[in-house]
Amino acid sequence: MSTSEKNVQKNIIDFDHHSPELRDHNTEVLHKLIYTEPRCPMGWSEAHGGFWAIWGYDALFDAVQNTALFRSVHSEELPKGVPGAPYKDPLIPIDIDGPIQQEFRKLSLGWFNPGTAKAMEPRINEICTELIDAFIERGECDISQELFTALPARVTLEMLDWESDRWAEWIEWVHAIIHDSVLHPDKAVEGANNMYTNIAVETAKRREKLGDDLFSDMMRTKVNGEYLTDEQIRNYAMLVMLGGMDTTAGVTGNTLLEIDKDPALRQQLIDEIDFIPKAIEEFLRFAGPQGGLYRRVAEDTVFHDQPMNKDDRVLMMYWAANRDPNMFPDPEKIDIHRTNNRHMTFGLGPHRCLGSHHARLMFSTMLREIMTRLPDFKVQWDKLERFEDCGSVYAVRHMPVTFTPGKRSTAS
């Protein structure tokens, strides 16, 4: 149906996902989208040259499944993001659609399936113990930098078999790309260039001898009969870094803040420590960090009663859909035993987060160890620092906490 066949009016919204209001008052801003009457699952914002935001669960469910209409591919002329990202190269496979996207995914499934994640559990436990040991006797730490930012970064680098003790350098570049693209594009470009340079070094090293690691598989596997070019290898590795290093930290930080605000919730997690692997689903729903991923409309259409035009940009607001009262009764209540918890935090459809099994395991491991070894942690709210822009990922950069000092669990 074309726009002219049905007289539909755009739901115009006053919304900018890169604004400090969303960062500082995210619940209020999301509620304004969700609860403004007449309720609508999506709307058109004039910010940044205009874009659609979809926040209703059912509409977003339909959109993520329809990759023919909501396209992930982008080009120099039609760049990704709102506004367009300052670095142009498509990430593999997230910025690809169709059968070839699934072929590129297959390349790394050996590393990202649930069984491989499970096999990494001992190593994830080991890194987690080592990181907590380093601060447990002090009674204070920046739990972001010293635990939940460090662990996913190290695990990601170990999967690629790059030097994992350089995680702090890599994470700076990753953070610059994810969090500075709009407000400080020069920093994002610098971060991307640093990553390109270092990935090129790793590629040259690995050419001499392939190993048993994810990066080697990118270099030795043919997709549709062809080896990946150096540029494709780089763009695949970029995605693994960008996806692997930041979001798991984001949800862990957001979750610790909710626990700090709610003594009953804290006690419940201590009492039901063995339930944490399932309890994380509720934190993934409520405290998920993914502010939004982008799509582009393939043709003029009417979607959920809204007139969309070819090439319109779309912000897929998973974290808002996760609070849709039509889907999640009493959505603002954190209930670790919630049922029908079909949250969208890892996306849905063909682009479901490749690293979701690892993310769940790392998040669950860190939460269990925190609630076991420093269950009385107190957040120093006056020293809390969020990333300035939460348009892509709503996350904490620094989170100083205090707690009753404990003993190291391994010899130093």
């Binding site: 995914r105 297959k106 499934l109 399936n113 399932k278 689903e281 079909r342 890892f346 849905l348 459809g349």
Partner: protein, 68 residues
């Protein structure tokens, strides 16, 4: 009772393996779940229904009326 995982809908979230580990298995190279062969679906009904309820892609189809 009959149960199957719709291969067109399943996107490999693998939550069914956590809610009903005796009923579902993962096919690594196809990035999706399927029902284990030879299971007693009636005996596993509760966990299968829980897995179906939590599946974010709504890929688990359960027909309580149908026989094997």
């Amino acid at each position: 009772m009959r149960v199957f995982v719709d291969p067109e809908r399943c996107r490999g979230h693998a939550l069914c393996l956590s809610y009903a580990p005796d009923a579902f298995e993962f096919i690594d190279l196809e990035d999706r779940s399927s029902v284990r062969a030879g299971i007693d679906v009636v005996a596993l009904q509760d966990q299968i229904l829980e897995a179906a309820r939590e599946c974010p892609e709504r890929a688990i189809v359960v027909d309580l009326e149908q026989g094997e």
